[in-house]
Symmetry: C2
Subunit: 344 residues, 2 copies
C-alpha cells in the first residue's frame, strides 16, 4: 500500500463548536460545497477541490444501477427496499427483517452478504439481541440493505454474486462508471481504499460529490432511465426515512421533519450529502476530523440557510439542529452548535 | 448566497492523521505543551496559552488532597484504591467491586455517589451486565473511584458528604485551591462548566496543566506532604494501571508497557496529561476537535520523542502507538498515525 503525498493544507474553517458551560471546549473544521446541476457553485467553505471518500453518504448514488438497470422492477423491489439500499441503518429488528425478506425473495440468504457482522448501533436493539441469546450477523450490518441491492443488480445482470464487493467485480466497476458519470470526472486513477463494509471507496473531490447530488435533485439533463431512477430513489428516501437510518437518527429526523423537501445521507468520517429537488441543488460536506456530531450540525445549519424550513419545522427540529451535551445524570452541560459569526 | 471569506483560525497544527487505503481521510489538530517543574517549556505545538477544560485527565491532580490531608492514611486507602481515584475506568467487575468495597469500608454506599449511572464502556462487561438482568449504576460510572476519593476526604475533614460535587462545597473549593497552586495561577474567575460526572470543570491554560504535571513528576519544590502525595499517586497509577482504565485501554497498555517510566491519564474531548519522573517533565495535550483516537496517538508519539521507550517496548506497543482501522470483517483498512513531516 502506497500512501500518497498530502494535499496542501488549504485553510479549512471552523464551522461547528462544542460549548460546555462558559467556554467553547472543542472545534470542528469543515469544507462545504453547495452546487447546482450545471456545476455552478452556489456557496462554498474550505477546500471543495480536495478529494474525500464519500463513504456511506454516496449510497443514494450507489443505488442508481439497482433502479436504472431494471433490476428493481424485475425483482419487485419496493420503495421501502430502495430506501434500505440507501441506508446506514441502526440494525433494528425492522431493518434486519426487511433485508432478510428481500434476500429470500430473490433466492439468496444471509450467507451471500459479504459485509462483516456488526452490532446494532441502536442500543435498545443491541440489548434485546444480547438478551435473546443471539449474536450480531451480517444482516445487522448498517450496510446490509445496500448489499442486498448490489446482489439484486448482479442477479439481474447474470453476474456471479460471489465477490461482488471486490473492485474488479462488474458490480463495483458499474458503480465506478456511475460515479464518474454523475461526478463528471475520470476516477480510474483516483486514490482508493476499503470501506467498513468491504466495498471500495473512491476519492472524489467534495465539489464533484455535490454536483452528483445536484444532478439527482435536478435530473433533467440525465437520460430518461437515469432521471427516473434518481427521482425514485429520492422519493423512496423521503418516503421511508426510518429505513434510511432509524430511531433517533439525524437523517431520519430531518427527512421526517422536512416532509420530503430534502433527502440527506450521512457517511462515516464526517461526511454528509444532500439533494434538494425544489432548489435543484446538491450539498456535500466533510468535517476535517471525521466527527459525526459536527457533520450533523453543519448539515442542519446549511438546510436552515437554504431557507427550506419554516418556523414550525425549525422549532420541531431544534434538538437535532443544536443538540444538547448531557452528563450521565442527564444535566445539560453544553451544546454542539454552528459558529455564530454571521458567516455560516 | 455567496462564497464567504474564512473565519479567523488560530494556528493549531495537524499532528495526527487517519489513513484509509491510498489517502489521508481525516486530520486532527492538536496543541501540546511539554514543561518542566520550573515552568520552562521544553517543546510546544499550537496554542499552549489557550484555556482548556482538563476533564478527567486531571484526576491525578484531584487525588492529591485525598493523600495530602491524611484522609487516605486514616481510612487505610490502598495504592490500588488511589489508582482508582485517578481512574476513568471501564466499569469492569473488578473496578465496580473495588469501589463498592471502598465505600463500604468508610461507612458509605452507592447512594452517596453523586455521579450519574453509566454503562460499562468495555463491551464484554456491558454484555455481561445485561445478561445478568442488572442495570448500570453510579458505581459503574467511569469516575466512581474519584468520587469515592472525594467522599473519603470529606469524611476525614468532617464536611457534609451531600452535595460534594457542587462548586461551593468545601471538597470542590479545596480542589480549586489545589489546581491554582499546582498550575500557578488564580482561577476564581476562570470559565467553568459541569463535567460528565457532575463536578465543576475549570478552564486552565494548556501550558499550566503541563506545569502542574511537571510538579507532580518533580515535586522537590513542593511541601513535604504534597511531594509525598504526588509520589504516592504516580506510584499507585503505574503500580495498578488496570485500575486507572482497564482492558484494552491506552492508559493501561502504556503504563504497563513502559514499566513505571510514565504516568498518563486521558480526559474527555481529546485531552491527555502525563508525568515523567525520570525526566522531571509534564505533558499536556488537547485535540482541537476532541477526538480520543487522536489524543492517544499524539501522546504515544510524544513519549517516543522523549526517548523513554526502548526498541523492545516500542515494538510491543506498536498496535497502540499506531492503531489499525479495521472494517466489520476484520480487514485492516487504514491506520491512525502521527504526521510524518519530521516536525512531530
Amino acid at each position: 500500500m502506497t500512501v500518497l503525498s498530502q494535499p496542501k493544507a488549504t485553510e479549512v474553517p471552523i464551522l461547528v463548536e462544542v460549548v460546555r458551560g462558559q467556554m467553547v471546549e472543542s472545534r470542528h473544521r469543515a469544507s462545504v460545497a453547495i452546487v447546482d446541476a450545471h456545476g455552478k457553485v452556489a456557496a462554498a467553505w474550505g477546500d471543495i477541490e480536495r478529494p474525500i471518500y464519500g463513504r456511506s453518504a454516496i449510497k443514494p448514488l450507489l443505488a442508481i444501477p439497482l433502479v436504472e438497470t431494471g433490476a428493481a422492477e424485475q425483482f419487485q423491489v419496493s420503495d421501502a427496499e430502495v430506501a434500505l439500499a440507501c441506508a446506514s441503518h441502526n440494525g433494528e429488528v425492522a431493518h434486519v427483517e426487511a433485508v432478510l425478506a428481500w434476500l429470500s425473495r430473490i433466492g439468496l440468504s444471509i450467507g451471500d452478504l459479504e459485509c462483516g457482522p456488526q452490532a446494532p448501533s441502536y442500543d435498545p436493539s443491541y440489548r434485546a439481541l444480547i438478551l435473546s441469546g443471539q449474536v450480531p450477523t451480517r444482516a445487522h450490518n448498517n450496510c446490509s440493505g445496500k448489499h442486498a441491492g448490489f446482489l439484486t443488480t448482479a442477479l439481474f445482470a447474470g453476474e456471479p454474486t460471489a465477490g461482488y464487493i471486490q473492485y474488479e467485480h462488474p458490480v463495483q466497476q458499474r458503480l465506478l462508471g456511475l460515479l464518474e458519470s454523475m461526478c463528471g470526472l475520470e476516477l480510474s486513477r483516483a486514490a482508493r481504499g476499503i470501506d467498513g463494509c468491504g466495498i471500495p471507496v473512491i476519492a472524489t473531490p467534495l465539489g464533484n460529490l455535490a454536483l452528483a447530488m445536484a444532478r439527482m435533485a435536478d435530473p433533467h439533463h440525465l437520460s430518461p432511465d437515469r432521471a427516473n431512477a434518481c427521482e425514485r430513489i429520492l422519493r423512496s428516501m423521503v418516503g421511508y426515512p426510518f429505513n434510511v437510518a432509524g430511531t433517533d437518527r439525524f437523517c431520519t429526523m430531518i427527512m421526517e421533519g422536512l416532509h420530503g423537501k430534502v433527502a440527506i445521507k450521512v457517511g462515516a468520517e464526517g461526511v454528509y450529502l444532500a439533494a434538494l429537488p425544489q432548489l435543484g441543488l446538491g450539498v456535500a460536506l466533510k468535517i476535517e476530523d471525521g466527527a459525526a456530531r459536527a457533520a450533523e450540525v453543519a448539515m442542519g445549519r446549511i438546510l436552515q440557510r437554504l431557507g427550506i424550513m419554516d418556523a414550525a419545522e425549525e422549532s420541531a427540529l431544534a434538538s437535532a439542529l443544536r443538540p444538547a451535551v448531557r452528563n450521565w445524570a442527564g444535566t445539560r452541560t453544553g451544546d454542539v452548535r454552528p459558529i455564530e459569526d454571521g458567516q455560516f
